[in-house]
């Protein structure tokens, strides 16, 4: 089987390890991975901030980059939700505005071929035990777009539960948003920080060594808070028990094996 990796812009620029982990994991499972070089960003930041017209060229580009690929796999629930849920919506709006069916056609063609990583593993490949080894205590934060947008359900937790050596501890209030929310993080920094601080406090209280997620943008926010000891003066926050967990993308855990160890 061949798949095209949609690594996403955030992972390309800031978290290449996640992309490398996906490649290593999929190849270990016997899947051939392509990386279409025309891909950049799905346009979610623009769209969710109210710049639909700036999103359209990125929709077109993304659709072109993955034309002809039967399976497109991405390690981001929110980028997958953007393509599956919002691309068709953007297409319909352009149609209604009398700008032809080009965008709508592109969106309709791409949307059903895009799979979030855990969906691809569980639903398409039909595996939950991917042969990983990760001897640590892990708690999992399901990001909102994966949880409610895509309906990933317990797929990520089932994958984690099958990892050898891994002890999975439930995160209290797991379904609650971490407060990242794209540009929300800078447009409403106080509320964003308050939400994130509550989230990392919950994670730390579990005693887990690793706070795992499947969306690196949410993890960037939580990691940024965890690494900043001096939370802004005047912002009430629950003290984070030490040692605090470190954040890690799910793909990096699933890619780790006993023979090869974690990623370098």
């Amino acid at each position: 089987m061949r798949v095209a990796l949609f690594v996403t812009c955030v992972n390309d620029v800031l978290y290449p390890r996640t992309g490398i982990a996906v490649v290593r994991l999929l190849e270990r499972l016997g899947v051939d991975v392509d990386f279409p070089a025309g891909q950049t960003c799905c346009g979610q930041p623009q769209y969710n901030t109210g710049y639909r017209h700036e999103t359209e060229p990125l929709l077109r580009r993304t659709a072109e980059a993955f034309a002809g690929h039967e399976y497109v796999v991405t390690p981001s629930g929110s980028c997958a939700a953007m393509i599956r849920e919002h691309y068709p919506r953007i297409g319909r709006k352009a149609e209604r505005e009398g700008r032809g069916s080009g965008l709508a056609d592109a969106a309709r063609s791409l949307a059903p071929r895009v799979h979030e990583l855990t969906e691809f593993l569980v639903d398409v490949l039909g595996v939950t035990d991917v042969g990983a080894y990760f001897p640590h205590t892990v708690t999992y934060h399901p990001s909102c777009h994966g949880l409610r947008g895509l309906g990933l359900g317990d797929r990520p937790r089932r994958l984690l539960a099958a990892v050898r050596g891994l002890r999975l501890v439930e995160l209290p209030g797991a379904e609650e948003c971490c407060g990242f929310g794209g540009t929300f993080a800078v447009k409403n920094p106080d509320v964003s920080t308050a939400m994130g601080t509550d989230k990392i406090a919950s994670a730390a209280a579990t005693g887990a060594e690793v706070l795992c997620g499947a969306d690196n943008s949410c993890l960037a926010h939580l990691d940024g808070l965890l690494r900043r000891a001096d939370v802004a003066p005047g912002t009430p926050h629950r003290p984070v028990p030490r040692p605090a967990p470190r954040t890690l993308h799910l793909a990096e855990i699933l890619a780790a094996t006993e023979e090869e160890g974690p990623l370098p």
Binding site: G50, R148, M195, H221
Partner: protein, 495 residues
Amino acid sequence: MTGGTYLGMPAFPVAAREAVRDGVLRANLRRATHTIRDRRARAVAELADWDRLRAAGAAVKDHTLRHLDRYLLQLEEAVNAAGGTVHWAVDADEANRIVTEIVRATGEREVVKVKSMATQEIGLNEALEAAGIAAYETDLAELIVQLGHDRPSHILVPAIHRNRAEIRDIFRAEMGRWGRPAPDPLGDDPRELAEAARLHLREKFLHAKVAVSGANFMVAETGTMVVFESEGNGRMCLTLPETLISVVGIEKVVPTFRDLEIFLQTLPRSSTAERMNPYTTMWTGLGPSRGADGDGPSAFHLVLLDNGRTDTLADETGRQALRCIRCSACLNVCPVYERAGGHAYGSVYPGPIGAVLSPQLRGTDSDIDASLPFASTLCGACYEVCPVAIDIPEILVHLRERVAQGGPATRDGIRVRIRPAHGHAAERAAMRAARLLLDRPGALRAGERLLARARRLAPRRLPGPGRAWTDTRELPPVPAESFRDWWTRERGTGR
């Protein structure tokens, strides 16, 4: 005894900052929203057909909105036939004028009120006060808000921001000024506080000649009005006074009596998390005796309120907000509401539904209304619990576009083109620049390499708008190599 005004409210992020730093408020909200959240989930889980009830509720509302003119005319005819009088109000001023004139004609100087979002929306209490008429709120939470010279912060529980000790202090200090004083001594047990409210309001109910209410539903085919409540203050107001005035948004109509079978199941479970709220009253005009048996009012006036609803109806994406049955489930699950509190939304409609209703009913001209569509992480918890399936995140994104890019809208019945907000000019330029970069993979790769070379120079604190991130968060470390370069190095060029 006026409530605060919403004019000149600061933008959401500024108002929210105060709330986030108020530890007592944060604790009050957290306790209350988490309690009701879990209870709602249990009440909803009892019904195996919840999703079907939800879909049917949305369909009834959508169907009604599509034929709203017909159903309002049918309603008017049925209410008239049952001895009521129907008035139509284009905006808040007209509705306030109508109510004031009806009250004046009775010669009364006092009215008792059942909690009503519509009358709060139009500022009826203030308008009546200006006309020398005192309006007494009789819902316990509304009483707390009114006595505390405060503003409501929640649709169902307007005093959710107050804890029991604060409420006791308000009762002690204020009750005596408006009627029967609070018992002395007064503790802060909710039972004791409810008893104080019972005693304080009893004399008002027994003497009142005029009552003002809203309604949760109006049935077009029969002219039946429906009010859901818990405390019995609604029954008091709807039964004892001689004149009853109901101010109701035009979107509250449903076609048939049978349609209530959906909402009688979904509203209480979504709202108070009960199988059924303690009291629901359904009345049709002056009732079967036409008011002759002295049970219920001898005059009933229904004021149908537009006040921005038809403008909202004209928007294909935004009109689903008119399905709202004001249950407040979306507030109770919203992580932003939980931390920012209701006042930050600058409207009688707080929380996620407020963030999509206020900028549609009032327009996006003011700072607060232009900031509301951005007061969400788009986490989708509100949509998930909404009993009429309003896709609030979809409307939020749609309204963000109206603010950031501009676009068509309807104001006061006229189609207009909203210009992009001035405050978003820098952001607009940045988004465009980012898009231009992202639309050229070669440029992106060059940018990534530049960033990687400068990675050791990365500052801990950014200037300008970036400060909003780095004030509380470290920046992600920049890797030595992008994924794109890793792939090229390892696997050759992309296909």
